[in-house]
Amino acid sequence: MAGFLARRLINYVALIVVATSLAYMLAASALDPRSNYEARRPPPPPAVVDARLDELNLNNKTPVFQRYLRWSWSVLHGDFGKTTVGDPVNADLARRAGVTLRLILVGLIVGSVAGVLGGALAAVWQYGWFDRLTTAASFLVLAVPTVVLANMLIIGAVWFNDLVGAQIFLVSGETTPGLEGGFLRGAADRAQHLLLPTLSLSLGLIAVYSRYQRNMMLDVLGADFVRTARAKGLRRSTALTKHALRTALIPAVTYFAFTFGALIVGTTFTEKIFGWHGLGEQLINSIFTNDVNTVAAISCLAAFGVLVAALASDLMQAALDPRVRVG
């Protein structure tokens, strides 16, 4: 097992290096930080611009490969360089990674638990009202773009707040600025802020996961081992949860773990709309501001996230399925 893990890790590190290098090359050759200065009125003198760009390792007069070497040397020392305005990328991204993590972790947990339950129940009551309802709802959610869905949620929340006459749902940011009160008050405030973005994020996940889980569950519902379990004297519900669901979880859980990696930069819309300053938002911003170093750093984080998710998915599969453990 340890050997297997070590090989996997080496493999993953190599993949991260390749992915990040390619991202850097692409960003360094496609983005043009010089235009940020040329757009100023009056434009700064070229020598000043060159000096500033050289300092930031963003000068397009330096060959790309040379910039790449200088960048990768500093990355090896744990420094992703500076943004176009000279702030360190590390500090900014560390803060934003925290924001994104808080958002997607809750969304992912809610999404996968509800998705598994919904999908499993829909399979057990195949063609019943619940199955039809969840099928229709999932396709509706999948068909509506996140932007529309999120805004509909906001409209609904505001209407609800007006109806009850209290700010139950808070629709912007992570916390209320300048909030007074103790820890509990702060936690409640955070929870209120989390409600809507989590809902918006997890609705999409529930829609996908429940379809997936439903199919997995349908595959095992008629399986011989479920029949054996019932023939032993287990009641239908027990046999379904203990034997069918447990087995159907294996492919689902590994798939869920994988989506985690994709979500790191995949929540752009949710972050933008609900005013959460996370990685997805920053990736879009940095492309607009020609911020090569930030783009490369976020790409590296995303690659890292996907591969951590892949590793987690392998480990979970091994934990859940004894058949893959041998060998």
Binding site: R227, T228, A231, K232, G233, R235, H243
Partner: protein
Amino acid sequence: MSDPTHPGAPVLEVADLSVTFGSGPSAVRAVRGLNYEVRPGEVLGIVGESGSGKSVASMAVMGLLPPHARVSGSVKLLGTELLGASDKRLAAFRGRTISMVFQDPLSALTPVYRVGDQIAEALTVHQDLTRAEARKRAVELLDLVGIPHPAERATAFPHEFSGGMRQRAVIAMAIANDPDVIICDEPTTALDVTIQAQVLDVLRKAQRETGAAIVMITHDLGVVAGFVDRVLVMYAGRPVEIGSVDEVYYHPLMPYTMGLLGSVPRLDQGERGRLTPIDGNPPSPAALPPGCPFEPRCRLAVPECRLAEPPLRPVRHSRHLAACIRAGEIERGVVTTVPKLPEIPEEGEERPPRESRRVVLGVEDLVKHYPLTRGAVFKRRVGTVEAVAGVSFDLREGETLGLVGESGCGKTTTLMEILKLARPQGGRVVVLGRDISGLVAADRMSVRRDMQVVFQDPMSSLDPRMTVYDILAEPLRAHRVREPGPRVRDLLRLVGLEPEHAARYPQDFSGGQRQRIGIARALALEPRLVVLDEPVSALDVSIQAGVINLLEELKARLGLSYLFVAHDLSVVRHIADRVAVMYLGRIAEVGQVDRVYDTPMHPYTQALLSAVPLPDPVVERARRRILLEGDLPSPADPPSGCRFRTRCPLYKAIGETERLRCVHEEPRVRPMGGDHGAACHYAESLDVV
């Protein structure tokens, strides 16, 4: 109806059981009025072909049918009505009073739990035991059903068990709570014969330990003969005959039963008589004919048979019942079903002796090894699977060579290596006088024309999107035959189908008819050698007999040679002239069929033959079985010397010094008289059939 051999009140009474799927005109009445009862210690066999409703009926008794099945009638277990009871109430009976052993042991256990825990679960559901007590009892049960090192094996997962071991574990689960009734649904169908013999032995032991009544559901008339007390024959969802096993086998009263018994090839009958297939196909449960459902296939049908479905009623005495209006006449011997069989054109007399006929297929020391790799990212070779490890045989003109062995013995790999027509990894293959390792593409094409193949599964070996005409014309077109039309019509007539069927698709045909199409395709190019890979194993016995007869007729008429790969030893005895028995990638014994079957020399052949059940109750009860221990060793790690020594009964009987030879020296096939040979240092003959 009291039973002298099994006194006591019935433990399970099934009355007028019916199961219907769907509704309206498309409703399928899978079971239509099933009645039976079993008493403590009694074994009832339920026999029928696929679609007869036997498995559905047993699931209905267990209350395990899906909710959309409509069940009516009565199922009484120890006097308590089970039909209509809540899941909670039924769950209290299932596994405790009535338990079940299923057909496919490979999928019957939950893959993610340890075997011991799954057995313990059966205990803790019904009994107030601690985890430790349940585990301990599970180990005892595994020991009882003959799993070696039970304490260790209890912690294994199902995929670490072989098929036979999994079925033992399922049996352990079934007997865990000392049930009163055990329903066995085709418990050995998915297993090899030697493993089948082991499992039947375990079932007998389980019955002795629990004193339970057993309902044994199977299509195998041999398994029933030696195992059960009474037999119930089902056809089209109804019982058509029920009686003691001896009466039903020796004095059947229903033409269907007579047909079934006549269509089984027998291991103990060497004469090359024709089998008597039952004409036609079983009716679809959705569209039953009026009157007796067997009437369209019955040789004794009279016009009255079409009027009403005959009831099951006592004929000879109160305990032998049959559903046939002519049962009385049959009983008095007024009519019999002995059919008029078309004669096989004789070939024996004028055929020159074997030595002077030419070799159509010669195989010498054929080797096929597969690399065994590990690792998902970096594949590395960790061993070699010796699927075929030096196999030699020859097949002469006009001859059928049966290649038999259990799963994993390498018979299919051997066949595929021959069909590949490419240089083998080791050894030589000579087809019709040409060494296949030297063939160029054009030669290969011409050899293919002379060597054709029939595959096992007629459902998947025909392209569902091609009409029968296209399927049969394709080989002709590939070999540039112009105007395939007349040839296609001839071929269809040759295999007993109507030329008008050419425009239909494979899905419009039954399994037996499809296999006939597969045979017609193989014969399209007038080959001289036909390789048949388990051609009848997917067919029901009544259909199988017709296909076997067809193959024999075609061989005689067209002068074909067959390489017939099969696991069913009875079929091979019936159809083959010579037989080669394979074990773990090697030939164990080879020779004339009658010589090998009547005086097998190799201990493996002896065990294999003794394990095949005969459809003859008296003979079967008196037979001595040679039970092999354990499972087939892994072909990745075969035993040194003689590959069979780890399971060999002879090896156990001989002395230490003799054993050394078995351990160190690999036996070659040595002549045992004539062209009979066995690969055993200490071979001697034994009468096992």
